[in-house]
């Protein structure tokens, strides 16, 4: 087998393994939040926690959204959830930033 063909096979093998690993991680991520409790999305949020999250959310809203455009006003919660998912992809906002901004914009 030529060196080029061997390299191609190795590359294909690596890609297949990577896709498998990605699928595995996606399943783990989809299993639900029970194993990944975090204050950001906890349904029971104490007032002080909520205040802290709002402050963090506002900071991240200003830092992330204002980098490209004039900061928009708040929209209804379900619209905001879609807009944030879009911006997560478009502006590569981190997962944590997206959740805090969503909390700030919908609470």
């Amino acid at each position: 087998m030529s060196g080029g063909a061997m390299k191609t096979r190795i590359a294909i093998l690596f890609c297949a393994l990577a896709l498998g690993a990605l699928a595995r991680s996606s399943l783990a991520y989809a299993e639900g939040p029970s194993a990944r409790k975090d204050a950001v999305s906890s349904p029971v949020v104490h007032n002080s926690d909520a205040d802290a999250m709002r402050v963090q959310g506002e900071l991240r809203y200003r830092a992330n959204c204002g980098r490209c455009h004039a900061a928009p006003r708040k929209f209804p919660p379900r619209m905001m959830a879609t807009v944030l998912r879009h911006m997560r992809v478009r502006a590569t906002i981190t997962d944590e930033d997206m959740r805090l901004v969503l909390f700030y914009m919908t609470q």
């Binding site: 349904p43 991240r60 879009h86």
Partner: protein, 375 residues
């Protein structure tokens, strides 16, 4: 570093950068990228929980605009509607697309009624799958992640000046294929973002054209100072098989209502840069109601011819000679998503200097296609 995972991130990225810089190039670095994917997929143990209680609703959004571009005394009426459809599916899918419908009308030489063509382009139609907090997989037609203008600053209600930067055509604007992208905190004070993609050649349909190419972009963002630095790379895998690379910078002041963006790009067809800034007059103490809605914007840019020659440059939509341009404008926000714009620019080139005037209005609309959850 706050936790050991961050050190692992740094080591993996360091290894990748070293590999990408080696002579063996992309094929040699493929196993390294695969290793990164592996790491990403097993790193979900410390993942953030997913969605909040709010179920996202489909949205029809986009922009509409009416502009007069007066170039060297010749008026062009530009009308455009650019609808964006966002359809979230489940917790981790998003199908999104943007169409650009633009009519450009001019009087013929010697006078007569305005005439012209209406062009329709599909800018992107993509399915995004949020695999985990670090990786989003995008499939379909997507905006090429090269620099920041094409992906983030292009919509008419976002850009501070309506003229395209001279170097915008240096990289493909849309690609058809697959992309991996994401952003994650590298430390308490820095976020890293990346995008890597492969695009297939598509020539069958005028509105879906793309080149066969691979590329990527990486950037680092400092939330404290709100500074972003990044680099982009693209390799064409057809015809001339040339490379393009670029750097970008963005800064949002924490003290002043000022933001600055800049890009540099270089390819076989040419090279150049632009720097633009927008300053909101909200800090002025007089006429506050009007001043806080007013924004001053300016841009300086330069284009240098590449080795491919002026015929190729023109084919790509680039200037046919070395060109310098300065532009200054005023934007007035009538309400959220609606702004009136006016600007003046001067272009200097061996082919002739000319004035560029722009007057118009840009509007962003947002319509929920279902119950929006409004109180």
């Amino acid at each position: 570093m706050d936790n050991p995972a961050e050190l692992e991130w740094s080591l993996v990225l360091l290894y990748l950068c070293k590999k990408a810089g080696s002579r063996r190039g992309l094929r040699a670095s493929l196993p390294a990228w695969t290793l990164l994917l592996f790491f990403l997929s097993f790193a979900t143990a410390q993942a953030f929980p997913q969605s909040s209680d709010e179920k996202p609703v489909s949205i029809l959004t986009g922009t509409a605009g009416y502009f007069n571009f007066i170039t060297a005394g010749q008026n062009q009426i530009d009308e455009q509607v650019n609808p964006v459809l966002l359809v979230p599916l489940g917790d981790r899918w998003l199908v999104e697309s943007r169409m650009e419908c633009e009519g450009a009308f001019q009087r013929p030489p010697g006078g007569g009624p305005y005439g012209g063509q209406v062009s329709k382009n599909l800018d992107y139609a993509q399915a995004d799958y949020i695999a985990n907090p670090y990786v989003t997989v995008t499939m379909g037609r997507f905006l090429t992640p090269f620099g920041i203008f094409n992906e983030r600053l292009y919509p008419i209600w976002i850009r501070s000046l309506q003229q395209d930067p001279l170097i915008l055509p240096l990289s493909a604007e849309s690609s058809d294929g697959m992309m991996l992208r994401g952003g994650f905190p590298a430390s308490a004070k820095t976020n890293l973002t990346y995008a890597v993609y492969a695009s297939a050649v598509s020539t069958d349909h005028n509105n879906l054209q793309s080149d066969r190419n691979v590329g990527g972009r990486v950037s680092i963002f400092f939330p404290g100072t709100r500074v972003e630095l990044g680099a982009s790379f693209q390799r064409l895998l057809q015809d001339s098989r040339t490379n393009a690379f670029g750097f970008h910078f963005a800064w949002l002041s924490t003290r002043l209502p000022l933001n600055v963006h800049s890009e540099y790009a270089r390819s076989n067809e040419g090279s150049g840069y632009w720097v633009d800034g927008a300053y909101r007059l909200s800090q002025l103490h007089f006429w506050q109601k009007a001043m806080r809605r007013t924004e001053l914007a300016g841009r300086a840019e330069q284009f240098f011819m590449g080795s491919a020659g002026w015929e190729v440059a023109q084919l790509w939509g680039l200037p046919a000679a070395n060109t310098r341009e300065g532009e200054f404008g005023v934007n007035y926000y009538l309400r959220d998503g609606l702004k009136a714009v006016a600007s003046y620019g001067r272009q200097f080139s061996p082919a002739g200097n000319l004035n560029l005037w722009t007057v118009g209005i840009a509007y962003r609309f947002l319509i929920p296609l279902g119950r929006s959850g409004a109180q």
